[in-house]
Symmetry: C2
Subunit: 210 residues, 2 copies
Amino acid sequence: MEQNKIPQATAKRLPLYYRYLNNLSNQGKNRVSSRELSEALKVDSATIRRDFSYFGALGRKGYGYNVEYLLGFFRKTLDQDELTEVALIGVGNLGTAFLHYNFLKNNNTKIVMAFDADSSKVGTDIGGVPVHHIDQLEEKMEGVSVAILTVPVSEAQAMTNRLADFGISGILNFTPSRITVPSDIRVHHIDLAIELQSLVYFLKHYPLKA
Amino acid sequence: MEQNKIPQATAKRLPLYYRYLNNLSNQGKNRVSSRELSEALKVDSATIRRDFSYFGALGRKGYGYNVEYLLGFFRKTLDQDELTEVALIGVGNLGTAFLHYNFLKNNNTKIVMAFDADSSKVGTDIGGVPVHHIDQLEEKMEGVSVAILTVPVSEAQAMTNRLADFGISGILNFTPSRITVPSDIRVHHIDLAIELQSLVYFLKHYPLKA
């Protein structure tokens, strides 16, 4: 498929473009320049123009891009119409924050269930999402192939192994642990401590000019 | 300075390398191959070798890299000995998760104070960090130049403007809002919804093989 020719770096920016263009459309804007997009999204305009060219979207000088055309394209590309159901594993503070975060608002993803071992949480609804006991994971997750991992670091690998045995396709890992998975499982890892340390490193070594 | 010649992509991986090598050292390991590092960190080994070569660290065939040499180098590079104090703005679920997360364990960053408008939180300690009223921000933040932003999206830009007026250097933005700042302020943005959507997009369009 042609879609597979999109560079991964470009693919990573698609959800960002989609969301912003959706906001513009909601505000009644019909067109947008790469410069405006660049300022709003903090992506340089040459990158935006190159990214868009992969989709056959060519901006016109003095006009920019047609918002609805781009949106239609991105919507199709991102499969906005097809909902992906997601399970959240670990209802601590971070997990609870996710459950309250309305993923469905601009997206095609929805957390449909959560798991925890704490009996005071099991049986409750948080942000409209039912919390099941972790012992019921395999039974309840039937048909769900993506998980957000927000368990304590000490349980990260054991829970990952269990998800792998279950047949998970993708894990969004928010634990500091670099989990190991079989090669057919995709893991995206967001390490909060490293994000912070990286910002501090950049501040020290790549100071910005006013 | 020579450090400024390190490519940004390499610089971004430094905290990751540092943390892992620190763990190896704690376990008493003296050497490590780029293949082992690659498997543990999910970074390909050619990239690791190229990254390390920027620091003058050249692995030896059949030996690999000397852990202590690398650690010494990274420690110096990441200014591990110099602590950066950070303020957290917004003590909701996500903010609370950060306060409980022990950033200091492997890092040179520490959340030293938090701010919220909720009087039931003000005056408490969460994870050992005092929570002040948001009205005291400018007074209490004297000397602190990095902030983690975990306020509701509706308050993100107004709070950013206030931090900019105060003279902040860097913001780690966890709100879904793409905040606008003057050009001398560095913002790293982590959008949880987009991270999830991006994972789902990759799963659909770049399936992995077993």
